[in-house]
Amino acid sequence: MEAQPNTPATSPPDKPARWVMPGLGLFQGLAVTGKNMVQSFYKKERMTTVQYPEERAPISPNFRNFPFLVYDNDPKAGLRCTACSICEKECPPQCIYIVLERDENGKSLKRPKVFDIDLSVCMNCGICAEVCPFDSIYMDGEYELSTDDRFGGLLFGLDRLSKSAEYHMKLRPEQASEVMARRKADEEKKAAAAAAKIAKAKADAEAKKAAAEEKGGEQ
C-alpha cells in the first residue's frame, strides 16, 4: 500500500500549515458557474439540452426501439413470418401474441393470422429480432410513438407492424443487405434442393414403377 496525498488539483491543501484564504472554495465555485453561464451563450458544446420539436439530438443508426415485421414485395403474401412462435416464447415481458392462420381443413398456412405487439408492455430489448430464424422481425428506429388512445393505439397489429424490405434496407443497410444476400443464397439453395428433390422423386417414382412392373412381370 502506498500512501499519497490526495491527487485532485483543487482539493483542500495537504499541508495543514499552508495559508489559504478562507472561502477560497466558495469563490472557485462561483468562478465555475460564472464560466459556465458566460460560455453557455456562445459555446454550443456546453449546452445540455436541445429544443426538442425544432431540433433533435442526432440518433445513432444503430438505435433500436420497437419491432417490425418484414415483408418482401407483398404486405400479405410476402410476409416472412411463419408464425412459429419462437419470439412469442422468448419475449421477456410476453408482449407478443400470435395466431397461426389455417385453411378450412385446419392445415397450417405458415402465416400469422394475428400478430399483435403491445407497445405499453414491450421493453424494446430486441430479443425477438435476435431469436427469429426466419429474418422476419427486426427492431425499428421509430421513437415518437405516443398516442392519446390508451388501448387501441398502443396495440400494434399486423397492419402497423408490417414494413417492407426496402424500409429495412433504408433503416439498417448493412444488416438488411447481409440478410438479403443470405436469403438469396438460401433461396437458390432451396430451389436447387427442390429441383433435386423433384428430380429425385421423379427418379424414385420411375424406379418404383419399374420395380412394380418388374414385380407384375414376375407374377
Binding site: N6, T7, D14, V20, T33, N36, M37
Partner: protein
C-alpha cells in the same frame, strides 16, 4: 384652476428624471383642474404614488421570476423558459394563470382563518417596506424621518407570518420549516440591524433619503468603499441572503429536506402570494442595502448626472439581485446548527466590530488618519477569524491512500 395646456407645459413633468412621479403629478393636476378639494387631491396623489411603486415592483416580481429561471438555466447550461412569447417573456403570465386556476387546497387539520391570513401577511410588510426607499432624487414614495426604523419594524412582521403559515397548516413539515425560519430570521436580523447602525452613526440620520444624499459625488464616497462600510456591506449582504431565505440559507424551504417548509400545504394563489412576498422581500432588502452602502440612486461617477437617478438605482438593484441568483446557482445549503453558529459566533461579533470602526471613522475626519486607524481595527479580528477558519480547514484536509494489490 389650471388649464390643461399649462399642466402639460409644466417643465419638470415630462423629464425622464420625473417619469416615475408622472402618474401622481398628472392625477394631482387633473383633480386640481376639476376643482377637487385639497385633501382629496393629496390623498389621490398619494394613492397613485403608492400604486406606482406597487406596480413597478409587481412588474419586477413577474420579470424576476422569469429572469431567475433564465439565469439559473444559463448557469446550468440550459436555455430556460422560451416558449411563452418572445424569449419566454409571457412566462410569468402563463404561471400566473396557472396559479390562479389551480385548486386551492386547505388541509383538514389547518386553522382555516390563519391559513388564509399568512400569505397576505407576508406580502403586506414587503410592500410597506418598499414604500420608504428613495428610488431617485425625485422619487421617494414616502419620505419618513424614521425610514430605516420603519423598514426594520415592518420587516419583523415577516417572521410572525411565516410562523402563522407553518403553524396553521397543521402539518409536520411546515412546522419544522417555521421553526427553522424563525430561528434563522431572528439570528440574522440582529447583525443586519447592527451593520445598518454603522451607517446611521456616520450619517447621523435615520432618514433614507438623507443617507443617500450624504453619499454623493462618485463611487468613492459610497459607504461601501470605506473600510468599515466594506465589511459592514459584506456582512449586510450575507444577512440579507438569510433574511430573504435565499440559497445557501434557504433552510426554511429546503426542498430536499422538508419539502417546501412553511409553504408545503399551500397551493394555487396562496402559494403564489408566498412567492410574491419572498421576491418583494428580496427587492426590499436589496434596495435597502443599496441605499445604505452602494450610494442609493447616486451615479457612480460625477460626470454621469445626465442619466436619470432612478436608472442608476435599478441598475444597482439588478446587479445585487444577479449576485443572489449567481449564489443560488452555485452553493449547496448549510445545516441549521452551522447556520446558527455562523450567525452567533461570526456574524454578530463581526457586525459589532463595525460599530466602533464607524465611530472612529466618523470622528477622525475620514482622512488618512481614519484609514490608518480603522483598517487595522477591522483587519486584525478578520485575520484572527481567518486563521481559526484556516485551522479548521486544515483539519478538514484529507489524504487518500492507494492500494495496489
Amino acid at each position: 384652476m389650471l388649464p390643461l395646456a399649462a399642466v402639460i407645459s409644466e417643465p419638470s413633468l415630462f423629464s425622464l428624471e420625473h417619469l416615475p412621479r408622472l402618474p401622481q403629478r398628472l392625477v394631482e393636476l387633473l383633480l386640481g383642474n376639476f376643482g377637487a378639494p385639497e385633501w382629496l387631491v393629496s390623498i389621490a396623489g398619494f394613492l397613485v404614488a403608492a400604486g406606482t411603486v406597487v406596480g413597478v415592483f409587481l412588474g419586477g416580481f413577474a420579470l424576476l421570476s422569469l429572469i431567475e429561471r433564465k439565469t439559473l438555466a444559463r448557469i446550468q447550461n440550459r436555455i430556460g423558459p422560451n416558449r411563452a412569447g418572445w424569449f419566454g417573456i409571457l412566462q410569468p403570465v402563463a404561471d400566473g394563470i396557472k396559479m390562479l386556476t389551480k385548486e386551492d387546497i386547505v388541509p383538514d387539520k389547518a386553522e382555516k382563518f390563519l391559513h388564509l391570513l399568512a400569505p397576505i401577511l407576508i406580502v403586506v410588510p414587503a410592500i410597506l417596506a418598499l414604500g420608504v426607499i428613495p428610488y431617485g432624487r425625485e422619487w421617494t414614495p414616502v419620505s419618513l424621518e424614521l425610514g430605516l426604523l420603519f423598514f426594520f419594524a415592518v420587516g419583523s412582521l415577516t417572521e410572525l407570518s411565516v410562523f402563522i403559515a407553518g403553524w396553521a397548516s397543521g402539518s409536520k413539515f411546515p412546522m419544522l420549516g417555521a421553526m427553522r425560519a424563525i430561528s434563522q430570521m431572528i439570528s440574522y436580523e440582529l447583525p443586519l440591524i447592527i451593520t445598518a447602525l454603522g451607517v446611521v452613526m456616520v450619517s447621523g440620520t435615520l432618514s433614507l433619503p438623507h443617507i443617500v444624499e450624504q453619499q454623493n459625488g462618485g463611487f468613492w464616497h459610497w459607504n461601501f468603499f470605506t473600510p468599515w462600510g466594506f465589511f459592514a456591506g459584506i456582512l449586510f449582504f450575507i444577512c440579507s441572503i438569510a433574511e430573504a431565505n435565499r440559497c445557501p440559507f434557504d433552510l426554511p424551504e429546503g426542498e430536499s429536506e422538508i419539502v417546501a417548509g412553511h409553504m408545503t400545504e399551500y397551493s394555487g394563489f396562496k402559494y403564489a402570494l408566498f412567492f410574491m412576498g419572498e421576491y418583494l422581500g428580496l427587492f426590499a432588502i436589496s434596495a435597502l442595502g443599496i441605499t445604505l452602502f452602494l450610494g442609493g440612486w447616486q451615479a457612480p461617477l460625477p460626470g454621469l448626472g445626465f442619466v436619470p437617478t432612478w436608472i442608476w438605482f435599478f441598475g444597482k438593484l439588478a446587479f445585487v439581485i444577479f449576485l443572489f441568483l449567481w449564489i443560488r446557482g452555485t452553493y449547496p445549503r448549510v445545516r441549521i446548527d452551522q447556520l446558527m453558529r455562523f450567525a452567533w459566533l461570526c456574524m454578530i461579533p463581526m457586525a459589532l466590530l463595525t460599530l466602533p470602526a464607524a465611530g472612529v471613522w466618523h470622528f477622525t475626519g475620514r482622512g488618512l488618519l481614519s484609514w490608518v486607524l480603522v483598517v487595522p481595527l477591522l483587519l486584525v479580528p478578520w485575520v484572527i477569524v481567518g486563521v481559526i477558519f484556516n485551522k479548521r480547514l486544515a483539519a478538514a484536509t484529507r489524504t487518500y491512500t492507494f492500494a495496489d494489490g
